[in-house]
Amino acid sequence: MDFPSFAQLLQYIFDGLSVGAIYSLLALGLVVVYRGTGHLNFAQGEMATLCTYGVWELHDRGLPLIVALVVGAAIGFGLGAAVETTLIRPVAKKSPFAVIIVTIGLFLGINSLTNGVWGPPPEEAMPSLFPNKPDDFASIFGATWRYERIGVLLVCLALGAGLLQLFKRTRFGLAMRAVASNPESSRLVGISTSHVLMASWGIAAALGAISGTLVAGVNTSVTPGMMFSIFVYASAAATLGGLDSVGGALIAGLSIGVVENLAANIFPDWIGQSMRLAVALVIILVVLLFKPSGLFGSSKVERV
């Protein structure tokens, strides 16, 4: 094992932040749903893919990508809200396991649907929101960082900051926190629980549309399975950050990206690219074993 030079180390960190930003983006969606409803949406990645296909179709019909993205995110919001009211809420009353099973069903169903409708490779590449020619990169101390990746990171940070403001500063955010901590009492003080639940899923799906479009831009195309491995990383990030912490998911996603990339490159024989994902999974296992509420999550006190 040769210890990497400073430029190499910096390069690993940049590459790690680049992928970490994508994990964080999807993790934000998981956190929003968990905060609002206490559920983990196993279909978060697939819903993002479905919305991205929507964005792609709109763009294909002539809308500029950024407009298509805004419309796609709006459609995503509607989709998320509809899923919550029609599929999640009715079974949530029965048992929390039923919700897990329904989201697994959604995961399978959407995956099969996108394969069935858009399966064959598209005829042209998906454009990116950011410059992505081979020489569109910044050189920083001998390392390079692509503008597109910097752009994704900035969007991720901006969305995270926006969500934090939403939760902390707005009435809606207050209502969300209230519903998450005690739905019954919230209802008693006049908060529309159903709107809050709907909105949580809607926001998460809209975030999914944005993250999916960014991923597709980086990937140069939308493919049915593009969010699957990202979902696993994102759930690791959400777990590490504490499932209900926006800032936690953000920091955890970026850290996982950096740590796994450093690990893969510094220990190519023991970890290497093939065991990168294992690093994230071991993080899940260790965190849940020793600090289930994550680094920044609030630990729940349960009354018996």
Binding site: Q11, Y12, D15, G16, S18, V19, I22, G38, V91, F97, A98, I100, I101, V102, G105, F107, L108, G109, N111, S112, N115, G116, V117, G119, P120, P121, P122, E123, A125, P134, D135, F137, R149, N219, T220, P224, G225, M226, S229, I230, V232, S235, A236, A264, N265, D269, W270, G272, Q273, S274, M275, L277, A278, L281, V282, I284, L285, L288, P292, V304
Partner: protein, 853 residues
């Protein structure tokens, strides 16, 4: 409303009726139904055991698990490793797998002590994803064989079981698999029942319903959870062992990944969680439904295709997903719950007053038919099994004996010398030498060229066939060709679906042109979703439907999973669509051959080209997909790269990871190799190239030559990588049919017209292998017919002494097989370079034929 008292004579009558019904079904299946049904049930039993183990944990103990695929994998691998590497008999390995999985299960129960709901789902999800990664971990390769897995982990020969008699061939394997799985299933059922109905079962349910209350009541929560996790894991491992024993093939894919966990959840939900019979009902329902949907989805007419015309491939998984969600709404306790509800309208059971209430709590759904099966039922079931074996043996005896007799006529003693001798068939321009591709054709028929095959003594052995007479029986009227390809279930179906269309198109074409005279051809393509677990069932269905030969089965593990059976049955397994070098084992598997150039030859051709481009030697950065295909390919490349060609950096990507390999490209660039050898797959093909282009831009002066496996060499795919793929090297032995300039060429024209006439002009570049497999199959059959009566044996003999140039092949490419001396059909490759501007491939140098044997 009919009220009966528990343990009253009426209740006993009810129970007896139910028992008789179960016994009849259990006996009926292996004796009276088709082999494919028997093998479907054997597979169902295996999945039922896994779902049952999940149900024990989830349904009764309330601990969710998405990690059961890992336990299943522990069993599957234990069996494969012990059988293939240590020569154990499969039966003993079940215990080892179970013990190993028990230990893993107990370990997993530690986090489960503190976690529940979503958090437990996350831990077990991590376990499911981690398992295949660990199996592929290079540090464990000595044990697990890496991504390649095992292909001989099952029963090489079936053991002699009393009552079942000597079992052989696919019938024998299916019947044996059925009884083996049923015996194990029965034991697992009794274990579950024992646990649930006992004091420990009541502890489980108490933990599920209220952990704190349970602890207060004196239940040792930690011990209860630990044991139930362990037992559940052990049981699931047994299912995995059964899976390995069934086909002998284990790769870290399919049911060993999260896919398997989800499958077990589906089965449990379909049948009914928290009910003892739920997984049994659910497993059978799932396998029958899935098999029906895959079957229906592959056909052109019928309800499913007419409803799902807009859908690429079969909608099987979509329908199952919709059902899964629907069940949570209308039948949270699954089919068993529904049946119970229906029963409750007719019959009410009045429980015995004392002690019954607590025990009955085990059944979540409640309702009337909450029958507590008495302990005698276990004995009764054992008796049933015995009777079943006797009956099965009778039905075996009724069939013609497999052993002994040597066939009187060995049709293959006069091998074909030429094909060209049948006059009257138009278009058979008897071209004996193949020159520059200006093929002589003056008719509309595709050029069927033949060179003279030398008379060779190789003939396929039929003495050990299950039914030697059938192998030598003349085939008249219609020849049924079977094939198994992924037609649904995601990326492989998208990639390979057009191959199925190409094969069908050629068979239609051959029939329309009357290429085989009076002999009609029928082709049936079954769907295995690229999962080797489904291939044996698919092949059994095809054989039940009367297929005479198999041709063009896609995938290495898939072909491996049916190779033993087809060789025992003496059914030609022609033109396996895989490039792994193991498809040339004539001595072990005389009835099997492959059609793709083996990777060893592809990589040698690249190394030769690299040497020509850089005579002073070159450094290579190797990038490959971390699965069976990538590993076999990379091994072949490493073996070929000698004398001045050195691999300086190796990077991999997971097959399920569809994101661009940025970090890998960075690492490759850091080593600054002269050559990049890329072995990605599917979407990875076009994601890899822009990353290399980016890395080149970031590293001025580094301009490697890029070589890409010909699996990626499709204009459709490469176009998506934009200008970054321009100038890359790959190889081909078939013509670049994506190039419209060639569409007027004889041979290619017929192909393009046929595909366009089928309404699928966009698959012209991707249907080519299917068309070629069809053409080669027809040519083999034609040669067999010319040599004498058409039999399965004569087809195999023709296939092994075969020289032919397919109409879509490049000029000068000759496909040759010759007994044991030339075991690979395609060994000539043309190196080509991709030209992004014209979207075509241009030849580099001349055809490489030096690796022909």
């Amino acid at each position: 409303m009919w009220k009966i008292r528990e343990s009253s004579p009426a209740h006993w009558l009810l129970r007896a009726l139910a028992a008789v019904a179960v016994i009849l079904v259990v006996l009926y299946i292996p004796t009276k139904t088709s082999t494919s049904t028997v093998s479907d049930f054997a597979y169902a039993f295996e999945l039922i055991i896994a779902a049952m183990s999940l149900n024990l944990l989830f349904g009764f103990a309330g601990q969710i698990s998405l990690g059961h695929s890992a336990f299943y994998g522990v069993g599957a691998y234990s069996t494969a490793i012990l059988v293939e590497d240590y020569g154990w008999a499969p039966g003993w390995t079940f215990y080892v797998g179970a013990v190993a999985a028990f230990a893993v299960g107990v370990l997993v129960s530690f986090p489960a002590l503190r976690l529940k709901g979503v958090y437990l789902a996350l831990v077990t999800l991590a376990l499911a994803v981690l398992f295949p990664l660990l199996v592929k971990w290079p540090k464990l390769e000595w044990l697990t064989n890496g991504p390649k897995g095992f292909t001989n982990g099952g029963y090489a020969t079936l053991p002699d079981w009393p009552f079942l008699g000597a079992l052989k061939g696919r019938d024998g394997r299916a019947v044996f698999g059925y009884w083996l799985a049923l015996v194990v299933l029965t034991l697992c059922y009794l274990v579950c029942r024992g646990i649930v109905r006992s004091r420990s079962g009541r502890s489980l349910i108490a933990v599920r319903d209220n952990q704190t209350a349970a602890a207060v009541m004196g239940v040792n929560v930690a011990a209860t959870k630990g044991i139930v996790f362990g037992v559940s894991a052990a049981m699931c491992a047994v299912a995995g062992s059964l899976g390995t024993a069934r086909s002998g093939v284990v790769v870290p894919e399919g049911n060993l990944t999260l896919v398997g966990s989800i499958l077990f959840v589906i089965i449990m939900v379909f049948g009914g969680a928290s009910t003892l019979w739920g997984p049994i009902v659910g497993g059978i329902a799932y396998v029958l439904l899935d098999s029906y949907l895959r079957d229906a989805g592959g056909k052109d007419d019928g309800l499913i295709p007419s409803l799902f015309g807009w859908f690429n491939g079969s909608p099987a998984s979509l329908i199952i997903a919709v059902l899964l969600i629907a069940f949570m709404f209308v039948a949270p306790f699954g089919i068993v719950g529904l049946v119970r509800r229906a029963f409750a309208r007719v019959v009410t059971l009045i429980p015995r007053p004392a002690g019954a209430a607590a025990a009955a709590a085990g059944d979540g759904a409640g309702g009337a038919a909450r029958s507590r099966v008495p302990a005698e039922a276990g004995l009764a079931l054992a008796a049933v099994l015995t009777i079943g074996m006797i009956v099965a043996q009778r039905s075996q005896d009724a069939e013609p004996s497999a052993a002994g007799e040597t066939p009187s006529v060995d049709s293959s003693t006069s091998p074909a010398t030429t094909l060209a001798g049948t006059p009257g068939n138009t278009g058979e321009a008897a071209v004996t030498t193949v020159d520059d591709g200006s093929v002589s054709t003056d008719s509309a028929v595709a050029p069927v060229e033949t060179t003279v095959a030398a008379p060779v003594a190789w003939t396929v052995p039929t003495d050990n066939c299950v039914d030697p007479e059938a192998a030598n029986a003349p085939i008249e009227g219609t020849l049924k060709i079977g094939s198994v390809m992924p037609l649904s279930g995601g990326a492989p179906a998208i990639a390979f679906g057009p191959v199925a269309d190409g094969l069908r198109a050629y068979i239609d074409y051959a029939n329309a042109q009357g290429l085989l005279g009076d002999l009609r051809l029928e082709v049936e393509i079954a769907d295995d979703q690229y999962s080797k677990d489904l291939t044996p069932g698919a092949v059994n269905t095809l054989l039940d439907n009367g297929a005479h030969i198999m041709s063009g089965i896609i995938g290495s593990p898939n072909n491996a999973a049916v190779r033993t059976t087809l060789n025992e049955e003496c059914v030609p397994q022609l033109l396996a669509l895989t490039g792994a070098p193991e498809w040339g084992e004539v001595a072990e598997y005389p009835w099997t051959n492959g059609v793709l150039p083996p990777y060893t030859i592809e990589t040698k051709s690249y190394v030769k080209t690299i040497r020509e481009l850089m005579p002073a030697g070159a450094t290579v950065g190797l990038f490959y997909v971390n699965n069976e295909f990538g590993q076999v390919y990379a091994d072949a490349f490493k073996e070929s790269a000698t004398d001045g060609i050195s691999i300086v950096e190796t990077q991999t990507i997971e097959a399920t990871d569809e994101n661009p390999p940025t970090a890998q490209a960075t690492a490759l660039a850091a080593a600054r190799p002269d050559v990049i050898m890329g072995v990605p797959l599917g979407a990875g093909c076009y994601r890899f190239l822009p990353e290399i282009a980016n890395a080149m831009a970031a590293n001025p002066g580094w301009e490697p030559k890029i070589f890409l496996t010909n699996t990626c060499a499709s204009a459709l795919i490469l176009a998506l990588s934009g200008p970054s793929g321009d100038g890359l090297y790959t190889s081909a032995n078939l013509a670049d049919v994506g190039n419209p300039a060639l569409h007027g060429e004889p041979g290619i024209k017929e192909y393009v017209d046929a595909i366009a006439a089928a309404g699928k002009p966009d698959i012209i570049p991707s249907a080519q292998p299917g068309w070629t497999v069809g053409e080669l199959t027809v040519a083999i059959v034609k040669q067999a017919m010319a040599a004498g009566p058409l039999t399965r044996a004569s087809i195999m003999n023709a296939a092994r002494q075969f020289t032919y140039t397919p109409s879509l092949a490049r000029p000068d490419v000759v496909f040759k097989l010759n007994g044991e001396t030339d075991v690979y059909l395609a060994e000539s490759l043309q190196i080509v370079q991709w030209d992004f501007d014209t979207q075509t491939f241009t030849d580099v140098g001349s055809l490489i034929t030096e690796f022909e044997s």
